[in-house]
Amino acid sequence: MDRELMFWALAVAQTLAFITAAPLLAGWVQRVKCHLQNRAAPSLWQPYRDLAKLFGKNMVVAHNASWLFRATPYIVFGAMVLACTVVPLAVVQVPTAAIADVIVLVGFFSLARFFTALAGLDIGTAFGGMGASREMMVAALAEPAMLMVVFTFSMTAHTTNLSVATGYILQQGLLLRPSFLFALLALAMVAVAEASRIPVDNPTTHLELTMLHEAMILEYGGRHLALIEWASQIKLMIYAVLLIDFSFPWGIANELSAPALATGVVAAAAKLMLIGVVLVVWETVMAKMRLFRVPQFLGFAFMLAVLGMLTHVMLEGGN
């Protein structure tokens, strides 16, 4: 019984770690990017300062904004918090993963996106509508690919529970599974699109014609904006952790002991830093693509995911 309680406590602690560490990952990515581009880098804690500044500001809300506009930041942030409760970060056994499996995780993302798009339309500005329609186009293409990736992994692990699936990969050891390779590539492409990174979207730009995600949240300010920014940092981190859990989960704590937990935390931090560096290199060598090239990019991701599933059936004996 105590053991059970401990795991629940760990799950809560892990979720808190997720929420607090997400701006740090964003700061790390920003810092590495600045170094790579020979610019003076901001401190690692800059995203926290930005969030604190935004939380301290007064809000200006348009006169014609409905309750939807005010509720959306809380819904988005809440969906992301719920999403990160089910992803194993430093400990494999997450009891909360039994509540919501990986398909529900995709559902959380689309819930957040649905409300962001509605809020973008709510004010009735041109940019909000444009951003909403673009975001929904990207989402409609990315979501099938994401689900195919999820199905490929769950066909191998015989479960959609993320905690059990990670445990299965951990226990199988390092295998040269082509299906995993394809699914991981597809997942990385989807993650790039969903976390609004280059080449699909540029998170730092406020150039009106190129922005996707930023266009929807242009009307937000103060506390609301802080919550939305924080939520998108958490989303980036969730995708990074998903990539780690499916590709190289070794080091993650599999038992309840202090050394295992310490290794788990250190390994998670190291792998996240590595993924941050890979992301930065990728963003530096890629140019942002035209909006109408995005369907081709995500179509390729979908094809990769389907190919992953096919190779699982064809080459790996389907079990």
Binding site: G173, L175, L176, R177, P178, P295, G299, L307, L310, E316
Partner: protein
């Protein structure tokens, strides 16, 4: 068959075969000429590596020769010939318009599923360690054929043809551990001669039609002269005189 119980070499065979299948898809999606040629060379490299691994696992020494043939032809000579041709035809930076890229990739996936169903009966009968890869080799052949069907550029069609041939070679080495050596040598020599002949044809095609886009070969040269005046400016005297000979 449980994947987790296979040896490292058997796992590597499957991984490299799957990667070769991926390069077929990359070629379908690749519109630019030089990356297309390089992707073709990578496919040859992956197929040669897989053949070597099959030789290591099964102990068939013939397969080393087959792998060496694949390597010299598909990785070194043919890509080099195609590269030199595209440089001399000044089309190495060309990118052709692919009509429906996503639809094309989904069509490729359908072909993979089809080849799996075709190969399924063989898989049940065969006891070879590499029996699961037969479907991949058939898929590489069919994808090469798809590349030939959808591309308008003659060079891309030749790459599709060569990729089909790689698929057939690969099918032989995974389904029967290689053809008789004399057959392999003969086919390899044929391919070499074919690639040189293709080069000669490219120059003739360009001289008589002014383009390597096979979509344009449907138009009569007289119709071209009246409809599109810019064709005349591109290829002045050549477009008229030998074109009649080409059609006859």
């Amino acid at each position: 068959m449980d994947f987790a119980h296979l040896g490292l070499f058997n796992q590597a065979i499957i991984l490299f075969a799957a990667l070769a299948l991926l390069t077929s898809f990359l070629m379908l999606a690749q519109a630019r000429m030089l990356p297309l040629i390089f992707t073709f060379a990578w496919q040859g490299f992956l197929l040669a590596t897989t053949t070597v691994l099959v030789a290591v696992v099964t102990g068939h020494a013939d397969l080393y020769v087959s792998a060496l043939l694949t390597f010299t032809l598909k990785v070194l000579i043919i890509p080099w010939l195609l590269y030199r041709l595209s440089v001399r035809l000044e089309m190495q930076y060309n990118a052709e318009e692919i009509a429906h890229p996503t639809l094309l990739l989904i069509g490729g996936v359908v072909l993979v599923i089809f080849s799996y169903f075709v190969a399924k009966s063989i898989i049940h009968l065969s006891g070879l360690a590499t029996r699961n890869i037969i479907a991949v080799s058939i898929a590489i052949e069919l994808l090469g054929m798809l590349l030939m069907c959808v591309r308008k550029s003659a060079v891309a069609q030749v790459i599709g043809f060569m990729s089909m041939e790689s698929g057939i070679f690969f099918a032989a080495s995974v389904s029967a551990y290689g053809m008789p050596l004399i057959v392999e040598l003969g086919v390899a020599f044929d391919i070499l001669v074919a690639s040189i002949l293709f080069g000669v044809f490219f120059f003739h095609l360009r001289d008589s039609f002014g383009s390597l886009d096979v979509g344009q070969y449907n138009h009569l040269s007289e119709a071209n002269e009246t409809d599109t005046p810019d064709d005349r400016t591109n290829a002045p005297a050549q477009a008229r005189t030998p074109a009649t000979g080409g059609h006859a």
